[in-house]
Subunit: 474 residues, 4 copies
Amino acid sequence: MSFRSGRLEREMPEEVAKFISSLDVDLQIFDEVVLVNAAHLTSLERMGLMDSETLDRAIKALRSAHPSALPMTDYKLEDVHMVIEEYLKSAVPEAGENLALGKSRNDAVAAAIRLRLMRYIAELVSEGSCLAEALISKARDHAETVFPLFTHEQVAAPGTFGFVLTYHASRILKSLRILKSLYDDIAESPLGAGPVGGTSVPHDRSALSELLGFKGPLLNALEASSSRDFIITYLGALCRLSVALADLAEEIVRYVSMQLIEIGDEYCSTSSIMPHKRNPVVAEVARTIAAKALAGMTSFTAIITRRFGGYVLDLQESTRHIWHPSTAALDSMRVMKGMIAGMRVTDAAVRAVHPMSGITEFAALLALNRKMTFRRAHGIAARLSRLLASGAGISEVIAEGRALGLDDESLSALSDFLKPEKVVWSYKVKGSSHPDEVREACDLLMREVESLRSWAEAELEAREKVRTRLLGKA
Amino acid sequence: MSFRSGRLEREMPEEVAKFISSLDVDLQIFDEVVLVNAAHLTSLERMGLMDSETLDRAIKALRSAHPSALPMTDYKLEDVHMVIEEYLKSAVPEAGENLALGKSRNDAVAAAIRLRLMRYIAELVSEGSCLAEALISKARDHAETVFPLFTHEQVAAPGTFGFVLTYHASRILKSLRILKSLYDDIAESPLGAGPVGGTSVPHDRSALSELLGFKGPLLNALEASSSRDFIITYLGALCRLSVALADLAEEIVRYVSMQLIEIGDEYCSTSSIMPHKRNPVVAEVARTIAAKALAGMTSFTAIITRRFGGYVLDLQESTRHIWHPSTAALDSMRVMKGMIAGMRVTDAAVRAVHPMSGITEFAALLALNRKMTFRRAHGIAARLSRLLASGAGISEVIAEGRALGLDDESLSALSDFLKPEKVVWSYKVKGSSHPDEVREACDLLMREVESLRSWAEAELEAREKVRTRLLGKA
Amino acid sequence: MSFRSGRLEREMPEEVAKFISSLDVDLQIFDEVVLVNAAHLTSLERMGLMDSETLDRAIKALRSAHPSALPMTDYKLEDVHMVIEEYLKSAVPEAGENLALGKSRNDAVAAAIRLRLMRYIAELVSEGSCLAEALISKARDHAETVFPLFTHEQVAAPGTFGFVLTYHASRILKSLRILKSLYDDIAESPLGAGPVGGTSVPHDRSALSELLGFKGPLLNALEASSSRDFIITYLGALCRLSVALADLAEEIVRYVSMQLIEIGDEYCSTSSIMPHKRNPVVAEVARTIAAKALAGMTSFTAIITRRFGGYVLDLQESTRHIWHPSTAALDSMRVMKGMIAGMRVTDAAVRAVHPMSGITEFAALLALNRKMTFRRAHGIAARLSRLLASGAGISEVIAEGRALGLDDESLSALSDFLKPEKVVWSYKVKGSSHPDEVREACDLLMREVESLRSWAEAELEAREKVRTRLLGKA
Amino acid sequence: MSFRSGRLEREMPEEVAKFISSLDVDLQIFDEVVLVNAAHLTSLERMGLMDSETLDRAIKALRSAHPSALPMTDYKLEDVHMVIEEYLKSAVPEAGENLALGKSRNDAVAAAIRLRLMRYIAELVSEGSCLAEALISKARDHAETVFPLFTHEQVAAPGTFGFVLTYHASRILKSLRILKSLYDDIAESPLGAGPVGGTSVPHDRSALSELLGFKGPLLNALEASSSRDFIITYLGALCRLSVALADLAEEIVRYVSMQLIEIGDEYCSTSSIMPHKRNPVVAEVARTIAAKALAGMTSFTAIITRRFGGYVLDLQESTRHIWHPSTAALDSMRVMKGMIAGMRVTDAAVRAVHPMSGITEFAALLALNRKMTFRRAHGIAARLSRLLASGAGISEVIAEGRALGLDDESLSALSDFLKPEKVVWSYKVKGSSHPDEVREACDLLMREVESLRSWAEAELEAREKVRTRLLGKA
């Protein structure tokens, strides 16, 4: 790299250059670095440091910059910033040679990362809304489909499959809501901050911010050029989304394993040796993404913590690990959407709801009728459960109930509560698995889907406009 | 535990009971569990399932419940919920025996954890504002104090100490802002959701929510009783705050090590064997908290991911690790506040700003005057730097500048830019380390301090009112 | 603390002292610190720096030191080293005042941690051998018990329950073997290294090592006093053991959930609201320990990495998190041992082995007979599987087989391979789930149990002897 | 993929196929999968299931298989195993169509991963020995070079630079020793285990093991095909090595920052905006590798824990993250070796050793002479330190010493101990920074270098022989 030689006598050997280069991951921010450079040159022109004709030629050159045509594996260029500077120096020398006038790689890369994350957030919210919609749509179909609910991984109570699906949709939508709430924190412009403590080149930082579609400049120059705090909360929110997705995937693997649901052939593989196998491989891969997001968090946080002063190359290494979990979450949502749409509940599902699992509401009834305290009712129900668990028939259980002092009215209610399909209609609280509650939840959640989706679409459009404004029509 | 025997024949051996018990960490949520039970009983009374006299006696008993007087190490009681139920059963049997009427430990513990985190957030925001204020106050004193700025841990540019301090204050305040933004997500009430899919006991969930000072009920009963997603984003925000604090602590350790600043004796220890040592132990401990927060995130996320169905005991184990990083952050801020207040900049600080570190702005000047492109100016400045680095005097550097073709005007400017105290006044962009920018930043940041602090105080007061309303005057 | 005042003028406030103190976790190494001090004083006496009568009195005082009688919450004393020094200073002044003569807290605490880990390893190996024995013993009982084997969490092949249990035993034993292999790496003595680079007090480091039962001195003084590398590999091995234990616990939760096995009431809890529940809570808690070990690794490694120079207080904070996962693993093994012993296989287990899961071996047979390549046989078997999966009866499958060109001999074999109890006897390779292989594995694994156990017992005994030699009979 | 259609009706869409494919990382094990297939075919031939002529042709085809010529981005093939099967099916049909006869991807991929890790260990030990040798060689040159030793990041005692370097060499070598000790645990052959519980194809597992250069078969088929425990301890050892390397890199960054050492231009970069910068970028990148290894551990362990049954696709995802930290460690060692060789100590180093840092040994002297207890001597030395720290001259300190009651002999010794270059020769214990100790350490460590290196070379050679034996000359 040409400017190296002014300060350092000896060249970097190839293997050393490769060791410190970020070129292998810079593709993720290539477009954003181009935008940042376009904004920078526009600012120079506005300050009268570049004539408009030169700017036009430079913008045109930037517009046609494509990574595939640039030396993205020439490690001696260190990073994408230098690749683009070299490119522009040969295309429009006066522009290329002033790319670092009041702009450092420190503020430029921070700006590019922020723009990229803004895009990721909009994409995640957009894709996530579609997955949530698929869940809600399927939930509406299954508002009355009786399905076992589990605690401690044992059948706990009768419920509905629609209820389970709205549970997943709700969790995903809340994660998206949090991701969206981080947008403004990320959308602060570091540009114009210089390498560490400012610059004597009088860039108008507000104008730079506006050019790139940021919400406003991030004031403190040291923070602008070196803080990556915004990535930590982004990764935190990504972990949350990923856990919600992993739990959904886990349940699919398990329900398939228990034969409570079936998924389409397109989402299964078989075995190269065991011809009968039908493996839910998509869900298996999808359930690993929470661990991947966590590893991103670990790598990132462990690298950047106890940082001293302004920019250090550790920051470059920290960013290396934030893209993979982002795309993994996007891909998972894209793929799961279709899997959800094709999911079917089997006949075995209702059979899996053990009759004794309704006995909790029977115990509640005894207490609601004020015949006894709940703790006593619980004790009686426990004894009946033990009988049921041991395989006793209904008449035997009724007899035992009578022996335990239950009156006829209670015993008749007992028979009802041993029918799972009756229990789900007995729930009285908001948000239960009662079919009416499931339908209401679907309506509420769809409104959230629409709100999030229109936000995401508006932001993606705004990003597109920034691009057109800075670089012209493609 | 009495209700165990209805379903299970054999007792749990002591060592097994201890293994599955959460009593050792339940102290963290003791007060909150008491509040949740008070709200539950109030709800029962409103439904006509308990008379008001019984309620009064039960509330009185709850008000006087203190962990020190309860069997908090009787592991056979499993957890704080059972300890309180046993206590109330003996104090006011009709109340104690109905604590589980339409209330499970699943929704109750979720409610208690949320209330506790709401309190932690308010406390962190409150304490963090005080630390930020100490930084801003010190920054104001040092708005003009010349201090080295580092990149790559090497002196990079002249700056001001006030600028460095506002950088830390800004990062901390943004983390607090994010923590505050998570409040409403956490302040959803799980109460009334039942153990997994609702209950036939007609609790008014909105009323329960209001009684406890939540923002409203968390609708989906499965989510309410088993999702811990809100903790992940809380831990993400805590990681961010902790990284900001760890970086501040790291800089203190380093500046002390480089003798650029001094801290008070109260924050140092000496060695038991090396009598001359003066170790910045407080800052050493404080810089470890980001790793602790990260470990909390790891433990929590790795435990809860790929969860199947509703409540599992894994959730109990996951919560075990979220309190320590919360209190560690609180303690660090409390202790660092005083250390910051007593910090002094030494005479060595200004001497540490190598004259050559101003040469960047000299290069900028050459380009701003349009005498040459920045890349060429950078090349010339690099050659002069090499001379300066090798120990050459100013006259030698001037001579070399002349030989490289610089005119007299430029050479005279060069002399100025070799004086760090002049360079800091040359910065032209918003947010630089220029003294006027530092002062303006102090004003802006103090407004943020006040806004956050008044929010935190209002919330802590609101929490207090909830307590009084539910339990009466202490 | 008395020696503080020589160097530092102002006292540390109580809350600051608490912040930097390690007293809350020092109980873990109390006994070891006592031993280290005893060895140190013995060394002083041997150098002629203390008379033997003083030594005797000091040893006697150390022998009777009990944490409960010492000020273990007086945070101004910083740590256990100072608590013991203060205690000895008042009991035997000449000894107490020379505890730091050529001994720093840096080498002393490293020695104590190493001794404690040596003990943990021996205890883990001892306890783990017992758990493995319980598994092997149960495996022998079930060498012929047909049980489903899963891949991708779907039934994959017929197997035996004994085979599954030897799998778990083998994994646990290998983890113990690795832990044991780290013993010598840990058993290097840092004592006599001084605070960072040696000492002019001529301690005989080999003698000190021998006194404490180390294998020999850790030579480099900087490494001895500040490296914690040995803990990383210890935690790595602990993670491995914990993953093996978590997988065992997970399988128990699942097999119970699928009703393939039953576990004793002593290892279950019920629900406070759902009277019918029977929750495998012990296994639920046990399966979280891998995440806890991982969090210990994270916290530890993230704190200590990028360490500069010798001892820093960060090291104190790093150790804080290694004890919990160690005791969690010990407790899990102790509790699971009993749960394993009482485990029963249900009648449902054999029914869970879907007949089509034997078809892999039928396909193999076709290829072994060289009637066709395996890939072709696999294709035929896949078609038959599809029929079986759709609920077709055996005659229908035979008909389809004939239509696909299978001869009578093959068709007759097919019927056999649809009987799981026949398939397990067809396996031909070493280490399969064939009953004879299971029995042979039990023999091999028991030899490993015995070898590990006798090693652990010998080491624990050796530790005891070191104690008696240094401190006399208790 | 052809065999899919037998069992599953619908194709996998491209984006789904990509989602579940491991092809993007399978390059890491390409060579090993080829070897495994060669051994498998050899075993078939030995059982009489393939004639030797077919084997010869198949081996020849395998020998010429190169990833660049194969469809390694045809995601519908799922993974490298299918790519190679498809290739062989078209080259030598009878061989290709029998690749799954008694061999599953489950045991095959486990074998390939183990072989790859064996190679990594040998490479790490080989490369690490070279780095250690560079350190030792430099240490020998600097056995007498006075250099500051730090604790709590403050100057603590006079030492020698050679001592610091042997410290790093020793830590690295011990990590390598541990890596090597894991070799046999990894070198167990899973081949012949079948997909989960054995196979009726009578593979001779011992012969297969020998063919591939394993130490012997891993007996239990479930463990062989699904356990990844060996990777956890591998990653634990890699974390340890990486922490040792990160600490070395950190010290280089810091010593350069404090101008105590200089490193070659080839290992530095400058800034694109700040022409005077000389940044130790290689060391900056190198110090991040411990965090990367930790992230590998996190991702891996969090994915695999709580695994149920045999092979799950999660295992594929877990392996994705173990290669990067392995190559990062290799690259770091390769690059640092040269940086170490060119490192120079500056004149500032000896000046950085504050005279008061020798006072610990003066205090020791007072106690050794039995003039007072060490605690009293420490108090006196603390008072003198305070004077020295405040800038007092030697005569002032002597006067204060006299006032504190020191006799002439002691005062004369004091002057000596204030000369760092004298203090380093005063150390009396083994392993100190005394020049003679440094030289002895160099000798000892070099013997360890040679022992490790010859082991690594022998293993790499053995791997090569396995290749030649199985595939013939390339």
